[in-house]
């Protein structure tokens, strides 16, 4: 029997604000434990929350970018449960009046994992619909040391946006593509850095399977707290197989909350007690209703940048790039910006794009979002090639050095003595020497084996440590060999 999976995602995104959601404490990853706290985010008696306007604006902006409907009135609710890393033992969240409802994320081929980009599903341009987007506060972090535990409340109160998708996703690859496309838009809007290593994007997935054609959905399981896009794919792959396996053996899926063990590559049930709650949501009486119309929506609108699809089209039209080139550059707004700055000073825009796509991206580490060198380096490089001062192979070497040594290509060329020898006088002398030193090749050439010229050329290149301009050398040798009669 063939099965299909039905997948829905809940994504928690840490918003890029200076301060926490309800107090003035700065948000700083890696600060000394409990050094970024105050009576409000510690839940001390009497302390009250004051909402951070910027966090509300960023959430509305996200909704606008994803085509959600913005609620005219948003409200904060208390979600009640006891947990040591939650200072008030209730979390301020949004229950029945989220800031944004609906919307969608558009999948595109490059968003899929590399090994699946050629699959038909990667070409489908499917839209994954959203249920809602709401704003809530993060909790602290527990640490366990042998016979005691400690809690760091620096993260407590950090603004989190929860984005809930419809169960529109049908495969682990689509889940991967959804997260990649979503992350791209969030980075575009400068809403979040989505740095998964820092926990800025965390994901819960709901998954069930059913035989294809069957109407009734299967029992779903939830995998909590996945902290990388590839872990989501792996966990889903495993979990779908696990569920199918149970069904094939005639078993029943029990509704469970699972965690993913990345090392073991397996999902495990969590103690059900931990999540079997009646959260007793009720409106937080400390916080007023948020009226979004007017200032908040206007501010959010002002922040909306050119979105990925628009950027792709513009890049390919304006710079004459292929769809693939435009797509790669547009995958990261900073990379696209960088390209545009570099291209502005270069006669050969396509060559700049190629250096970035084929050479730079291979060198730069994946997690690096900010490009550590000025864009002028790439325009300089492509101009050097165009002027015949560097050949392609040298240029590719220079890209590596530019990134690792953070030096301009001109400086690298000078320091390494890499400049091409284009002086006719110098080359003429070396070519003459080469002909004298390779009588056999000369004889071969003259007898009609024209390929023998390469051996002579090789002598020149060796003699000049590869710096001779190959085109000029070729022309000179041909001329000299013909002169010999």
């Amino acid at each position: 029997m063939e099965y299909e999976a039905i997948i829905g995602l809940e994504v928690h995104v840490q918003l890029k604000t200076q301060t926490k959601l309800f107090c003035g404490c700065p948000i700083e990853y890696g600060a000394l434990p409990n050094s970024r706290v105050c009576p409000i985010c510690l839940g001390l008696p009497g302390a009250l929350p004051s909402p951070n306007k910027q966090a509300i604006i960023l959430t509305i902006q996200t909704g606008l970018m994803l085509g959600s409907e913005i609620a005219p009135r948003g409200k904060f609710d208390r979600k009640n449960y006891f947990y040591p890393d939650m200072p008030k033992n209730y979390q301020i969240s949004q229950y029945d009046q989220p800031l944004c409802k609906g919307g969608a994320v558009q999948l595109y081929p490059l968003a899929f994992p590399k090994d699946a980009q050629k699959d038909p599903q990667a070409q489908s341009r499917k839209k994954i619909r959203l249920v809602r987007i709401h704003l809530e506060e993060d909790v602290g972090k527990s640490f366990h040391f042998g016979d005691y535990s400690g809690i760091d409340f620096n993260r407590a109160g950090t603004p989190l946006m929860e984005i809930v998708s419809e169960a529109d996703i049908r495969s682990p690859e689509e889940a991967f593509a959804y997260l990649t496309a979503l992350r791209q838009i969030l980075r575009y809007g400068n809403v979040s850095d989505c740095d998964m290593e820092k926990g800025q994007l965390r994901c819960d997935v709901n998954v069930s399977v059913k035989p294809i054609g069957e109407e009734k959905w299967g029992t779903k399981c939830e995998i909590k707290n996945l902290n990388s896009i590839s872990a989501v794919r792996k966990a889903l792959k495993y979990e779908i197989q696990r569920q199918i396996h149970i069904l094939e053996l005639g078993g029943e899926i029990s509704q469970e909350t699972l965690r993913w063990d990345d090392l073991k590559g397996q999902t495990f049930p969590m103690r059900t007690k931990e999540y079997a709650h009646d959260y007793r949501y009720f409106p937080d009486p400390d916080l007023l209703t948020i009226l979004t119309e007017g200032e908040l929506i206007e501010e959010a609108q002002k922040r909306i940048p050119e979105l990925p699809e628009e950027k792709k089209q513009r890049l390919s039209q304006h710079y004459g790039l292929t769809e693939y080139q435009a797509s790669v550059l547009a995958s990261d707004p900073q990379l696209a910006d960088f390209f545009e700055k570099a291209a502005a000073q270069s006669a050969n825009k396509v060559s700049v794009a190629n250096f970035l796509i084929n050479d730079y991206l291979a060198v730069a580490s994946e997690s690096e979002t900010a490009i550590p060198i000025p864009p002028e380096y790439f325009s300089e490089l492509s101009n050097l090639v165009d002027q015949g001062k560097l050949h392609m192979k040298q240029a590719k070497e220079i890209v590596k050095l530019m990134v690792t040594e953070k030096k301009s290509p001109t400086l690298i060329v000078q320091e390494k003595g890499l400049a091409q020898i284009t002086s006719l006088d110098t080359l003429d002398a070396i070519c003459k020497e080469a002909i004298e030193a390779n009588p056999k090749s000369v004889a071969d050439y003259r007898s009609g084996k024209t390929a023998a010229i390469n051996a002579i050329k090789g002598y020149v290149m060796k003699k000049t440590k590869g710096q001779a301009n190959p085109k000029i050398v070729h022309e000179l040798l041909e001329k000299k060999l013909h002169e010999l009669g």
């Binding site: 839940g43 009497g46 208390r78 949501y281």
Partner: protein, 483 residues
């Protein structure tokens, strides 16, 4: 006349003219405290040294320059305990000042100590306190009311010139009425709640307890105003309440008497005293009109659903993880929570947490919490429609005078009825003032409640002031004896 008998306004005159120094004044108060406190037990904590240090340097030209003040034990003062009269906050020292405390300090007030209360402001007698009972200065066998019983008893027995209390369902006005002093519950949003340990966030409001209405106006002026740290505080201008006291004319003024507040079961002497006070206003030229607030009978039930629901979440933070008293013997985390809270909370607090947890539970939320919110709106509408016809309402503050210690402590429902006339004011978010208006034959004070529309404190204060001026009110010295 002893120095401790003075009102704030009288003391201000002496201080500004340098006829009295803040240090002399503070010392005089401390000797009164030393004399009276063993009988009353109004304070949970006294900081003599800190008060005297402050008195030496305070600027008397400030609005409350040199005036000592007592603070209810649920309002945070930096480096002081804020126990809320609970075992669970044993040993807790607050690291920050409530907004009202910042305002008082800026206005030159001298903080004397913390007054006793019902644990987490839950109660009407100050019997639910982990730090012991407070006695009513008019009869030491009786309760001072609550939950701000310590503040009311301290002011009435002249061991405080003035005090701050908090009022969620009558916790300022009812003890003021029981002890024979003045108590004001401001409009919701008038005074910042930042730093007030929350009982029911949508109803709590800090307010003054004083010897005269004039003093209440002075104090309200200082503590009022929008606070960016309290999302529910309002950006309303703060009138100069103390300067508006004399501007009121009773001509064309209609005072409403809600018939639902004169029910069966109201004490005969209380009824008589209130009728006399109403007649007094009439004799001064006010038009008296009977009005109806039809949803009054639902106020107590509505209150106990909404207040306990909010309290169940507000008090969840007391878990022994970050601060406060912790249980020493436990098996696992859940057991730790259970034991810490079981050992730390008193029975009334537990009862209300359970009730609040219940009404918010899935399956009950709509029937209780949501319905209570709707009734709250009805109660609010009741008041807005009567305030179209009249400028203020006159009612008893409490249906009875101070009751005996232990008389109602085993009967929560009877105890809840002590706030039957004050609760609706909190639900409607409007303002209410309690002033003394006579005594029972047993010598117990009776309180008149003057209820005003939202943001009209100046009207109820002026009415109260007029009453006190025209009846020649002098803050009496209670006997401090068992009768």
């Amino acid at each position: 006349m002893n120095l401790f008998e003075y009102t704030i306004s009288e003391l201000r005159r002496l201080l500004v003219r340098k006829e009295l120094s803040p240090t002399e004044l503070t010392e005089a108060l401390f000797s009164r405290i030393a004399e009276v406190e063993p009988k009353i037990n109004a304070y949970n904590y006294i900081n003599h040294e800190r008060a005297i240090e402050r008195a030496k340097t305070v600027n008397v030209d400030l609005p409350l320059g040199g005036i000592p003040i007592a603070i209810k034990d649920n309002i945070n003062v930096r480096a002081e305990p804020c126990r809320c009269a609970s075992k669970i906050l044993e040993g807790y020292l607050s690291p920050y000042n409530a907004t009202v405390i910042e305002k008082l300090i800026k206005a030159g007030a001298i903080l004397v100590g913390r007054t006793n209360m019902d644990e987490f402001a839950m109660g009407s007698s100050t019997e639910n306190s982990a730090t012991g009972l407070t006695k009513n200065p008019w009869d030491l066998q009786r309760v001072p009311g609550g939950s701000s019983g310590g503040s009311a008893a301290a002011v009435a027995s002249h061991e405080a010139f003035c005090a701050l209390g908090s009022d969620t369902g009558g916790s300022i006005r009812q003890p003021a009425s029981f002890c024979g002093c003045v108590g004001l519950k401001p409009t919701y949003g008038r005074v910042s709640r930042y730093g007030l340990t929350a009982f029911a966030s949508s109803l709590d409001q800090i307010g003054p307890l004083t010897k005269t209405v004039e003093d209440a106006a002075l104090l309200l002026e200082v503590i009022s105003g929008f606070d960016p740290n309290d999302n529910t505080s309002e950006k309303m201008p703060v009138p100069r309440f103390s300067e508006l006291l004399e501007t009121l004319s009773l001509k064309n003024m209609v005072l409403g008497v809600p018939k639902e507040y004169f029910i069966e079961g109201i004490d005969g002497e209380v009824r008589e005293a209130i009728n006399k006070a109403i007649a007094h206003f009439e004799s001064l030229g006010a038009k008296i009109e009977e009005v109806s607030l039809p949803h009054t009978p639902y106020a107590v039930a509505t209150y106990y659903i909404l207040a306990t629901a909010e309290a169940s979440a507000n008090l969840a933070r007391f878990d022994g993880i970050r601060y406060g008293r912790r249980s020493k013997h436990y098996e696992d985390l859940l057991d730790y929570y259970g034991k810490t809270r079981d050992e730390g909370f008193g029975s009334e607090v537990k009862r209300r947490i359970l009730l609040g947890t219940y009404v918010l539970s899935s399956g009950y939320y709509d029937a209780y919490y949501l319905r209570a919110l709707k009734v709250k709106e009805k109660i609010k509408q009741d008041f807005s429609s009567v305030f179209k016809k009249c400028q203020a309402l006159l009612t008893p503050t409490s249906p009875f005078c101070a009751f005996r210690i232990g008389e109602k402590s085993n009967d929560p429902l009877q105890m809840y009825l002590a706030d039957i006339f004050t609760i609706a004011v909190n639900l409607a978010g409007i303002c209410g003032l309690s002033i003394p208006c006579g005594q029972s034959t047993e010598g117990l004070p009776i309180g008149l409640q003057i209820i005003g529309p939202a943001w009209k404190e100046e009207v109820i204060l002026a009415l109260g002031h007029l009453y006190q001026k025209s009846t020649g009110w002098k803050p009496p010295i209670p006997p401090l004896e068992k009768t």
